[in-house]
């Protein structure tokens, strides 16, 4: 396992809810990342973010980690959940709230 894969695995396993994104929650650098943050904010639960633009190794490595070609990517309790489209679908059905243990 490459160094980047090990680092990604650590980030995924050590945070209950972690979003790999472009930019930061305050300044997302892409519409999809912005949408993902909006959903996480609505969940009202603590989350971590990793700005892939600050780390070329992670930016490349995250695509292989879950065989998923795009960012953002959400991980909950160590498991890959999906990108922003899946997040939106799961938010609308209430599955995402259930998964992260949010109130609403």
């Amino acid at each position: 396992m490459s160094d980047a894969q090990t680092r990604i695995e650590q980030l995924v396993k050590s945070n209950d809810v972690v979003l790999f994104m472009k930019g930061t929650p305050l300044f997302p650098q892409c519409g999809f990342s912005s949408r993902a943050i909006a959903i996480l904010e609505r969940l009202g639960r603590q989350y971590e973010t990793v700005d892939v633009l600050q780390d070329p190794e992670i930016r490349q490595g995250i695509k292989q980690y879950s065989d998923w070609p795009t960012v953002p990517q959400l991980y909950v309790k160590g498991e890959f959940v999906g990108g922003s489209d899946i997040m939106m679908e799961m938010f609308e059905t209430g599955e995402l709230q259930q998964l992260v243990g949010a109130d609403a």
Partner: protein, 83 residues
């Protein structure tokens, strides 16, 4: 490099022959699309696998040549989404 909506549809149907594909050009710039793909082959696959099947059909273009593809997948007979 912009991609035509018809090319996206052609590629998806080439590897998922029964797919019903609906594509919307979101920004009119040939670079931001929303696609809805309905196929029986998605049966028994979770959402991640369904999306991966579409990404595979597009052969590595998503995230590169095709920057923005909003994607929705479904199986025909479990359709209960309002259109």
């Amino acid at each position: 490099m912009p991609m035509m909506a018809s090319e996206i549809e052609r590629l998806i149907k080439a590897s998922i022959p029964d797919a019903q594909v609906t594509i919307r050009d979101l920004a009119g710039d040939g670079d931001h699309y929303a696609a809805r793909v309905v196929s029986r082959s998605f049966e028994g696959m979770n959402r991640i696998r369904q999306h991966q099947a579409v990404y595979a059909a597009l052969g590595g273009r998503v995230g590169g040549e095709l920057h923005a593809l909003q994607l929705e997948t479904a199986v025909p007979n479990t359709e209960n989404l309002s259109e």
